[in-house]
Amino acid sequence: MSQTVTTVSVVARDRDVRRRVLETVLQETHPAVVVDSPPGAGKTHLVETVVATAAHHLRMHVGVIAPRVEQVHDLVRRLRQGHPFLPVQLLHARGRLPDPDILADPGVVSVDRPANLRRGPGVVVTTAAKLAFSVPDLQAGQFDLLVCDESYQLPWKDLAPVLHLAHRHLLVGDPGQLRPIVRGDLARYEAARHKMHWAAPRELLRQNPNLPRLQLPATWRLPQDTVELVQPSFYPDLSFASAVALADRQLGFGAAGIGDPVDAALDQLAAGATLVGLLLPARPLEVDEVDDEVAELAAHVVARLLERAATWVGVRQLTERDIGYVDAHVASNARVRARLRAAGVGPATMTTTPEIWQGSQRPMMVAKHTLSGLARLDGFALDPGRLCVMTSRHQLGVILVGRDGVAAALERHQHDTAERPSGTEDAQWAGWRAHHRLWTALDTMGRLIRI
């Protein structure tokens, strides 16, 4: 009862914020609006809503950009599905044709030259890079509104060149995930007056602190149990709750297990826990060393989910496609892939790095803990964005596999106080704190199952 009431109020709040976003972007005349979104909050849905309202209702010429081609293609599909009458133009690189389904869609006009873009009400979708490279061929104020999806994945240097193309801007993104990677002398970039390497919304707001910043209050992906673990660890400044009812996020099994620790972890998930750790005994490993036993364990968990006919209660039995594996290291992913094949699990189970997982979801996830086996913790392992992505892709649950000894490694860790450029945020400390908080919570809740 109380969960239902909570869910209802979250949904209502979410609607209010969405309405407020529409008003702020389309009825007020702020030059830019930033919307922070927790994972699974329906960012793309929001983008779709704003774009369709602007283009269709207000007859605006709208530009929409995203960092990656895949994200752009996804946006086009979503716009076409939700608003089939909306004129969509896809501006793509000459060497990279759109996916065949998009090419085949008569409602999408694909162009590779900005000069061929038609003006007037409607939407142009493209990558930030393509739009930037088109800037010399476009006019200032070309768009009435420019929307940037997944904007926290974009460095300011890649967004700044296109901002003059519109009078109004909407930047939507998830502030807790991986920051954009920019190579070079970061200390020098940090010391500069303009932080061209920062995530675009961060720098935009630093330079223009009076711009409106709204926060989506609900996640439609993560169950509340996950929210209670993930939000305090990775989103200390963004409060949100689950908008989905407990009953809609239940994992069940068609077959009983054999009672080993893997089953114990799965049974915890079936009992309502959504984030569970499954740990092999501690063993020190190199940062980039592949842990065969953990790879084996990860594959075993996926196989066991399938063997036990894992089911999204009331929805469907899970297939290989419904399960994903995320690992920070390419080599380790490859080993898990090999182990999965050996266990009879096909390529439909996506195994890749958090960078690629951003923006995707699966009912069930298996993730290798980024600190597993590490005697010495580095910035890569401690990056809060990485673990945040790994623990926020699931709709039903995630099993963190790895080595025990994480708590000890965190305690032992000597914080570096030298390398961070002067006056900048301490991302490593934020990462350590997030890791510490999550691990302590899991341990306290009895969610760490040791093999």
Binding site: A191, R376, Q414, H415, T417, A418, D426
Partner: protein, 357 residues
């Protein structure tokens, strides 16, 4: 120069597992003399700050503090919400000069009174130069370290002072050297903890955030760079850990001396040490510790110590690579790892045997 106060805390924070270093800090040893007592020889390397470094530091501080601290007021006022012309300054360097033995307690008394005034809502100065704080390192009345920020500036928004450091380190295009930042941040970490401890006495501890302000130099003479406010959670955490280490080592020393009044140099072999690469940069005893662990993995650095175990003999590693049968599962695993690593260097197992012949 003694290993005490903030200097000692910073050193311990860099290597909290070395209890000998903590004992040296606790007993405020003068390092070169302690080295002589332990090794029987004079320390052969360079020790202590050079004349030009001392002179530059003093000149930089003086330039910021002269004329009613005009230099400091100018850079700090706007940052902390004060009109720089109406900032009240108390300079304890001018108020209470003298040797540390007498000066520290007097400055501490005055600093405490000002914090008391702040808690009571009375008028307080916006800028304190060379205030004095005390950081407890145990429960006893003498178990404390004196901590002296270069200055503290009142933050109008937070209603509490923020410790600050003046450093003559040169920023190039506003970029500081990591080593300089490391030291400064840890010093400030100790200052934050000490300020929190002092503020606790007057009920203001909650206002003390983990932040400090640094005023550093530009390449242009004594001109200060724009000040930087730093969030220092990690540095504070590391200094807290150093304080805990000091408390532990105090107890360990008491145990060791329960049957006799042995001076520290006689206890060196009984106190745990922890050699790490950083020791070579900071500790006068690094070469001594290294010599005691000659031909073990730790002499090849932290990476080798992590991989092989600090105490593993290098001759055993060589023997394993030359085909000696592994005695344990760990050794077997190590050989496998090193074999893979060899290929990255273009060396097959036979090549390794040859290289080690």
């Amino acid at each position: 120069m003694t290993l005490s106060s903030t200097r000692g805390l910073v050193r311990v924070s860099k290597n909290p597992d070395c209890h000998l270093q903590a004992a040296m800090a606790l007993e405020r040893v003068r390092e070169p003399e302690f080295y002589r007592s332990v090794t029987g020889t004079e320390y052969p390397g360079e020790y202590g700050e050079r004349v030009s470094a001392r002179r530059r530091g003093a000149k930089f501080e003086a330039s910021l503090r002269q004329n009613n601290a005009a230099g400091l007021r100018q850079v700090l006022g706007p940052l902390f919400g004060w009109d720089l012309d109406s900032m009240a300054v108390r300079d304890f360097g001018e108020e209470v000069p003298g040797p540390p033995t007498t000066m520290r307690t007097l400055r501490l008394t005055r600093t405490r009174r000002i914090l008391g005034d702040l808690a009571a809502g009375r008028e307080v100065p916006q800028l304190l130069i060379q205030p004095q704080l005390a950081l407890p390192t145990g429960s006893g009345p003498r178990q404390l370290e004196f901590v002296s920020p270069d200055f503290m500036v009142l933050d109008s928004a937070a209603g509490i002072y923020v410790p600050g450091e003046e450093k003559s380190f040169i920023l190039r295009d506003n970029v500081a050297e990591p080593g300089d930042l490391d030291l400064t941040r840890r010093q400030a970490g100790a200052q934050i903890l000490a300020l929190r401890a002092e503020s606790r006495l007057v009920g203001l501890a909650d206002r003390v955030a983990n932040r400090a302000v640094f005023v550093m130099a530009t390449p242009y003479g004594m001109k200060p760079a724009p000040p930087v406010v730093e969030q220092l959670d990690a540095a504070v955490y590391e200094i807290e850990r150093a304080v805990a280490t000091i408390a532990t080592v105090r107890e360990e020393l008491a145990m060791l001396r329960s049957t006799g009044d042995a001076p520290l140099e006689f206890l060196v072999d009984e106190i745990p040490t922890h050699l790490q690469e950083e020791c070579h940069r900071t500790c006068i005893l690094a070469a001594y510790c290294e010599a005691r662990q000659a031909d073990s993995a730790v002499v090849l650095g932290d990476g080798a110590a992590d991989l092989l175990g600090a105490d593993m003999r290098l001759d055993r590693v060589r023997a394993l690579l030359q085909g000696a049968p592994p005695a344990t599962a760990e050794e077997r695993e190590l050989v496998a790892r090193l074999t893979v690593a060899g290929r990255a260097l273009g060396l097959e197992p036979d090549d390794l045997v040859r290289e080690l012949a």
